[in-house]
């Protein structure tokens, strides 16, 4: 029975590691400036975790294979060489080095996204999530958003942001159902929710942030690849949660200018 | 305790060394089970109160403005309530002392006095609740500002009032049981722990709810 356990465990370990290493299922291709650093961080963590995984599982497999009791077995038990001491040292060295490596060296991505302010020339877009759609608002030429008035939100007349029509700051705001940004230009998103906790998940940009009602949460990133990407809601928000998505379109600067003019004309 | 041998009475052999062994039963911590149980209950209940107080602090700090409606009359009323509760704690101390000296009627008398303090506290408190309700304070609204004022006020003082009321019933049960000599002095002491704890909680609620919301002159 112990031998069988050793064999099965070795097979499980091999297959698990092989699938990870083959990268058959892996992150979608990076399309943002900071994304590469995150993938790098993942690979570093993976190497550390894989060493621990393989050593622990194989040690377990070998011990189970080797130390099964036979009939009439009278061999004396053997205490682990060095007793507890070396295992303690191993644990502290292995986990300790991981902590130092991951925690203090590896948090650049987090710091870049959340500790540093967005570039001053960032394109600001406001996002409003509600059951079960995202809407986006561009400030227009004046660079200002009028406030959101919850009581003025009216889907029927397409006033998704609760804009007060008499407010001069809101006059030139452009509201869209799709997020479009020019490539290689920093973007700052101001995330709002009008009802539930929602999530804002942009896989290729390596961006994710919960959206809470009552708070405006800023995040920033720089897209580097032209293309159309999924924006998924990733915080349970109700029965249509699985269907709540929007798209991010990263365009060339010229295409973006054309697009925004066209959107402005639709307001 | 059913096992009554002295401490460190047996000797066990381990690894060739003779080790003194604790004799079992009540030692080494010498805390009667009921008392320890009540202490643990108090720890856990204190954490429940702390969570509610944390919620209050969290929301109060986040609020742009928090009402400060309590006039001098309210503060005086709350001070009287505090005084009544503190006096009842003194009565409780005397009840515990009497019970440990075996003075049954004295202990029962002081227990009833303690419970009476609790009843007076409750009456004063309910009177104040009714007054505030008459002024239009509700868990979801009040005349002065953020509706969370009423929510926090009623939740915190209500939770405390439930504790006082339970305490009154508890003390009376103990008084009857001790009077009939069915319960021991330890039971009185344990009920005392609970009562002092309820008092102590009020010592947090009084400044946090009342004094911090007193009307500024």
């Amino acid at each position: 029975m112990g031998k069988a356990f050793g064999v099965v465990l070795t097979i499980i370990t091999t297959i698990s590691v092989a699938i990870f290493v083959s990268r058959h299922w892996w992150f979608p291709e990076v399309a943002s400036a900071h994304g590469g650093a995150m993938d790098h961080q993942f690979v570093e963590t993976f190497v550390g975790a894989a060493i621990g995984f393989i050593l622990a599982q194989l040690a377990l497999a070998v011990f189970a294979w080797k130390y099964g009791e036979q009939k009439g077995d009278n061999r004396p038990i053997r205490i682990f060489p060095g007793g507890v001491k070396w295992l303690l040292v191993l644990a502290f060295v292995y986990v300790g080095s991981e902590i130092i490596l991951l925690e203090f060296v590896g948090q650049k991505v987090w710091a870049a996204m959340y500790f540093t302010p967005p570039a001053t020339d960032s394109l600001q877009v406001q996002v409003l999530a509600g059951q079960f759609a995202f809407y986006f608002r561009y400030p227009g030429p004046d660079g200002k958003f009028g406030p959101i008035h919850a009581d003025k939100i009216d889907e029927a007349s397409a006033n998704f942001f609760g804009i007060d029509p008499s407010d001069p700051a809101s006059k030139d705001d452009i509201v869209t159902a799709e997020l479009a940004v020019p490539v290689n230009k920093p973007v700052e998103l101001l995330l709002n929710s009008k009802d539930m906790d929602h999530g804002f998940y942009l896989r290729e940009m390596r961006v994710q942030q919960d959206m809470l009602p009552g708070m405006q949460i800023p995040i920033h990133f720089t897209p580097t690849k032209i293309g159309k990407y999924d924006i998924a809601c990733n915080q349970l928000c109700g029965l249509g949660h699985y269907n709540m998505r929007a798209f991010l379109e990263v365009m060339s600067e010229e295409d973006y200018q054309k697009w925004i003019v066209q959107q402005a004309s639709l307001q | 305790m059913s096992h009554s041998s002295g401490p460190l009475s047996a000797t066990a052999v381990h690894d060739g060394r003779d080790l003194p062994v604790w004799g079992g039963g009540a030692l080494p911590y010498a805390v009667p089970s009921k008392k320890l149980g009540m202490w643990l209950f108090i720890v856990s209940d204190a954490i429940t109160f702390s969570a509610v107080i944390f919620a209050y602090g969290y929301l109060r700090l986040a609020a742009p403005a928090w009402p400060r409606p309590f006039e001098t009359a309210s503060i005086v009323n709350a001070t009287v309530m505090t005084f009544v509760l503190l006096s009842s704690s003194v009565a409780m101390v005397l009840a515990v002392r009497a019970s440990s000296l075996g003075k049954v009627s004295g202990a029962v008398g002081w227990l009833v006095a303690t419970a009476l303090g609790g009843v007076i506290f409750d009456i004063l408190h309910i009177r104040e609740w009714l007054g505030l309700i008459a002024e239009g304070v509700r868990p979801f609204s009040n005349p002065w500002g953020t509706p969370m004022f009423g929510a926090a006020f009623f939740t915190m003082t209500g939770l405390h009032m439930i504790h006082v009321t339970i305490g009154v019933v508890y003390l009376l049960i103990i008084a009857v049981g001790f009077g009939r000599r069915k319960l021991s002095a330890v039971d009185v002491e344990v009920s005392g722990l609970y009562w002092h704890f309820v008092d102590l909680v009020w010592m947090f609620i009084f400044p946090l709810v009342y004094l911090l919301s007193a009307k500024m002159a």
Partner: protein
Amino acid sequence: MESMPMEVQHHHTAPTSFIRKYVFSVDHKVIGKQYYFLAIFSVFVGMVLSWLVRIHLVWPNIHIWGLGVLSPTGAPGGVMSPDYYLSLLTVHGTLMVFFVLTTAPQAGFGNYALPIQIGAEDMAFPVLNMLSFWVTFLALCALVATLFVKDGPPISGWTAYPPLSAVGSDAGPGLGMGQNLWAVSIALFCVGSLLGALNFIVTTVDLRCKGMTLMRMPLTCWAWLITAILSLLSFAVLFAACVLLFLDRNAGTSFFLPAGLLVNGKLQNHSGGSPLLWQHLFWFFGHPEVYIAIVPGFGVISHVLSVFSRKPVLGYKVIVGCLLSIGFLSFTVWGHHMFLSGMSPYSGFLFSIPTLIITIPATIVSLLWLGTVYGGRLRFTTSMMFGLGFISVFVTGGLGGMFLAQPSLDIFLHGTYFVVGHFHMVMGVAAIFGMFAGTYFWFPKMFGRMLNEKLGKVHFWITFVGVYCIFMPMHFIGLEGMPRRYSSFVNDAMQPLMPVHTFMTIAALTTGAAQFIFFFNLFWSMYKGAKAPDNPWESTTLEWTVPSPPPFDNFGGKHPVVSYDAYEYGVTRNGKDYIMQTDPPGQPASS
């Protein structure tokens, strides 16, 4: 308040009526079994629910017999709707976390074995113990009732984040009556757990028999003691949170609800609260809860590995120290559930430090288990197989935590199937393996008969391979960024990954089916199994010195005296390779 339950009932006589003996019993052994069967019922229902949600993910249009009768609105004609998927997911999570993982290892096995292992006749407060069980039973009734009320169970998940859980039925199905019942159920569960925890601590401190010093207690007792402390401190907070949630829902307060909520076109009459507050309170409970589920497993596994390796457990004192430090650290890490919640990113960074540090004691314990197995004379009973399996799944699941502990990586992995795979492996499967190991180990003592080992081995192999097939692929699709709690991926960028889901569903159905072998074994052996001797596993601790099953007062009026540590294996004495804890002091133990 009737505080009489706090009576220490020594030398109580065995009850004779059926009700006092089996229903409202104050005997810790009966209460332990009651908790155990409550958990068995819950795990059965929870497992069937997990089948239903997995089936719906993969075959959304399938007709499920009987489901249309249970919920004509949620599953008209037996075809599950997307919202019913979320309803069942909520009940699955709540049942499993509270009524299985919190109940069976701690309240079930703990109640049964703790007093016997420390040489006591019963728990310190037997009547309070009975109350704890019946309050927990009521909590279960309230939760199961959600399945039968109009609109069904809440769709807000087991974490019940507001505003979804707090604004009422405007927000979706099940958020009216169902969510109220959920809050009542959890509040009751907190009360039951608090009373139980208090009882465990007092019992361990006060009722140990002569010679049973703290450092001679079996590691199981240490684990139950530390878990009880965690329960005492953390359930108190969840209780407060549930009260506030209930007030928000029914008294119009706004603890968790900010101003300007526009739900379903209706402006809500709430303002001044914060949904983040719930997350703080919930996870302050929620992270210790993970250890409440797994620490009793640590105890059982340390115990079982030592018995069946015929070796003293390696580093007894170190394990005790690790359990204590895990318990302490578990109160400092709750923020790692909230990295992306909108809380200050600086706190996110700070919370990740204790989160990584807590892996040190967990790693040490795992290494010590390996060191215990090393060089032993392993007896591959079913209990031992689950013990070995526990190490494997715990290591696998735990390493996933290395990724999730880092806010940098959480930006991608948060809310994906990587998280689902991680916590199922490390908290669900590992804790359940601990329960299986405990069941196969203590069943002879509890019921006086042996479980069938052949069926047990079949059960083990399918389960062990099965859980890897279910939960390992979740990590892979998590890397692709597949969000959890989606009832469908039609028209979604994730649609191409559906074959992986099909594979996992088939694995889940198979592994689930294998549990029927276990259920059959359990109930068949209870009546037809081979008679169990007093000490079938040649184990050293006190429960094996008494008959199987033990008499009403455990030790038949005798008072055991302990002279030895809990794990004296691998010695030679009177032709045996172990020394019972109660053996008379004599020749030193030699190994």
